[in-house]
Point group: C2
Chain length 440, copies 2
């Protein structure tokens, strides 16, 4: 999607900036972006949204139209407006690479810059990183539940707006989905696209079989017939008739799709109908309110489903539709900043995540420490991605990130991948960091 | 936001279109857009998203880049690609005007066009109308709960992406919110913008009072001090000191904001502190996980809150983050189309909503009937908004729609505005429409 620019912000970022400007408060500040709470069902998170955020931050400036609008509000003094006209982000950002597994209270990203600049990024960064991470995490849970079966994003019709539709396609793919129905995401991100027919298509024809035949004539190589418009088992038999006719022309039906009813029972019955006709190679696709829970349920009950279309419930992360993601000032003018909030963890100071792994690479524990600490036998996870307002590392491709997610997930013990049990990964705070916190 | 164009669609819309094209299936079809289910908590819905959808449909065409991408997929025959290159929507759309109150199973919008064209709009229309309606409805519930107190949208940091942030600002305002913190929405839609300071701002100063004074020096006319950074009651007293100093300069503190803690108790204590100092005119704003339920709770428990900042829970409609919105083929080639689905209502045929009101304009019942039926004593609600692919009615301004929502809401009995009780508004089906449905 298009960069929205710095007006995509809460007004208070600009009124605070105006105060800093007018009072010449320009010391360096560090803000830390992290998840405060954690829905009961999430044992781990998958960091996402960074590449998109960095892309938009390069060239983050107020347009002439933005400036004219800000003037028209009458809120700001002319010299501050003049300052904004020249505004560029000149600071430093460290962040978890996209696709990194992380846990609550760990800093996902820290910004260090003159306070005015670092403050102005708040709303934009929270929105960008928060939603992408929400979806990548939800999708990763589905990938775990599907145990190797391909998943396709079908959510576009019910995502929360257009940018969400694009981001869901991208971040479910990042987390291991096989593709999306979203054609624009196919174009923008190079994600494989998938989809064949709706019930409306079947009802346009006088007979279901006629609808299948007409489709196979045009898309012989990759036809998937939707068989539940009238009666799923009759639909399966119609699909068999057309598939056998296709075989005579050396064509192979790719699959059938179930979209309603008892997925366990129907999928097994349909599998039998296909197998009895020598169509063992024809796959069964299923779509119908799937999320990680329903995927797990039908698989554990013996459904014969080869691939899932996953829609609305994942596209809006329905069981937990937002993250408690915050952006907190942790250091200003060379002093640590504390804000004590009952029941909430705020860690002052510039930080780093140190990950300890065993000899095979399995993740053992994370330690949140000071940015420049060294902790033996651990790897620092936050990388510097922006310096003096410019990107340091070249952007990583979506395919590369997707591969890294698979690699990371393999290093996480199976227990944490449970979609139903709450198991807390050990995250501790280093002695050095703890010593810098106020007694509470 | 920018129009996304016709690639913002599920692939199957294009594969079905290819089938229709290759088989020369081009008869006229009518699709009906409606809500199938209804979360237990919603007694009514507020239609939204139409103006934006119609804006994007005008000039809905495949770009050269879109065409090149579709060619690159290898899925489509060249003659179909050539056809898409010339594609324009040439059909008719009837719809509920934005801001209209409606109920489940009522058609919000119907498209009549050659089937290929009507099919291609499906994903786009569901996404556009569904999300806008979701948010306008959630916001309207907050407006009812707030009983006249102003509400400000504070959700931008946690909306599901950037388009969502813009749409939430617009559609909460449409439903009666007083403004938004989203500056870009202020620019795009002319919505009043609002916001002052965050905790980070307060912690930058050595003393809270210093932070307030510095702010008031720059924004004297519309300062709202955030008083809960350290201790809310001490914060209130610091605000009083600064407000009294402002008065000596003939300046008036606008308000204070509470963002944590027991909102009922704290707001009453803060009100006393302000009143005792002769600052009865200083308002108390509150923000902290508010939605319609929490607004209703604190008001009914006697909180002294003059206005609410409403964030995440409304920005993602957290208790019901999607609508079960569907787009069903109801008529094709001069015959009604039925799809019997157990437990679901699908009404074949082109339809109209007829609303019966009493002499004072109060809504009594809705009757879903045939498009061209006449039902005595009722008003047809669906208007023709697009003909031969062009808009008929001039677009209505956001301000006008917002006024219409207020007017509509006044005509709905109070019981339906309850945020906790399920009360079903009477929606019936006309005899003529029922006679056209299959026996089931």
């Amino acid at each position: 999607m298009h960069g929205v620019g710095p007006l995509f912000t809460d007004l208070y970022e600009l009124t605070m900036a105006a105060c800093y400007f007018e009072h010449q408060i320009d010391a360096e500040a560090t803000f830390s972006l992290y998840l405060r709470g954690c829905p009961a069902s999430r044992n781990y998170y998958v960091a996402a949204g960074l590449e998109n955020a960095l892309d938009q931050l390069e060239g983050y400036s107020f347009s002439a139209g933005d400036i004219a609008y800000l003037e028209s509000t009458g809120l700001f003094l002319p010299r501050f407006i003049d300052f904004l006209e020249q505004f560029q982000f000149s600071g430093e950002i460290v962040a978890l690479p996209e696709g990194t597994i992380f846990f609550p209270n760990e800093p996902i990203l820290e910004v260090t810059a003159p306070i005015l600049e670092a403050q102005i990024l708040e709303t934009f960064l929270l929105n960008s990183i928060g939603f992408a991470t929400l979806i990548a995490t939800k999708a990763s849970r589905c990938v775990c539940a599907a145990a190797g079966r391909p998943l396709i994003d079908f959510s576009l019709r019910r995502t929360q707006g257009q940018d969400a539709g694009m981001q869901v396609a991208r971040n479910t793919y990042l987390a291991g989905f096989a593709g999306t129905s979203n054609v624009l995401a196919g174009k923008h991100y190079g994600i494989p696209i998938s989809g064949t027919m709706a019930h409306s298509y079947v009802t346009v024809f006088d007979y279901e079989k006629e609808a299948f035949t007409a489709y196979a004539q045009i898309f012989s190589d990759n036809s998937v017939f939707l068989i539940d418009t009238y009666d799923t088992l009759k639909g399966a038999r119609h699909a068999v008739e057309v598939a056998l006719a296709m075989q005579k022309q050396n064509k192979q039906l790719m699959g059938v799709r179930l979209d309603s009813g008892d997925m366990v029972k129907l999928s097994r019955q349909v599998r039998s109908i296909l197998d009895e006709s020598g169509l063992a190679a024809v796959k069964i696709f299923a779509s119908s309110s799937f999320d990680e829970y329903k995927i797990d349920d039908v698989i554990s009950q013996g459904a014969c489903i080869d691939a899932f279309g996953v829609g609305t419930k994942v596209g809006v992360s329905a069981d937990a539709p937002y993250l408690d993601i915050v952006y907190k000032l942790v250091r200003f003018n060379d002093r640590d900043i504390y804000k004590l909030s009952p029941g909430k963890i705020n860690l002052a100071g510039s930080k780093q995540i140190f990950r300890r792994q065993d000899a095979n690479g399995h993740m053992l524990e994370d330690i949140i420490g000071l940015r420049n600490e060294k902790i033996d036998g651990t790897e620092p996870m936050l990388e510097r991605v922006m310096k003096k307002g410019g990107r340091i590392l070249p952007g990583r491709s979506l395919e590369q990130i997707r591969k890294d997610v698979v690699g990371q997930l393999a290093m996480l013990d199976e227990g944490y991948k449970s979609i139903r049990s709450k198991i807390v990964f050990p995250v501790t705070i280093s002695d050095a960091l703890r010593a810098r916190q106020p007694a509470s």
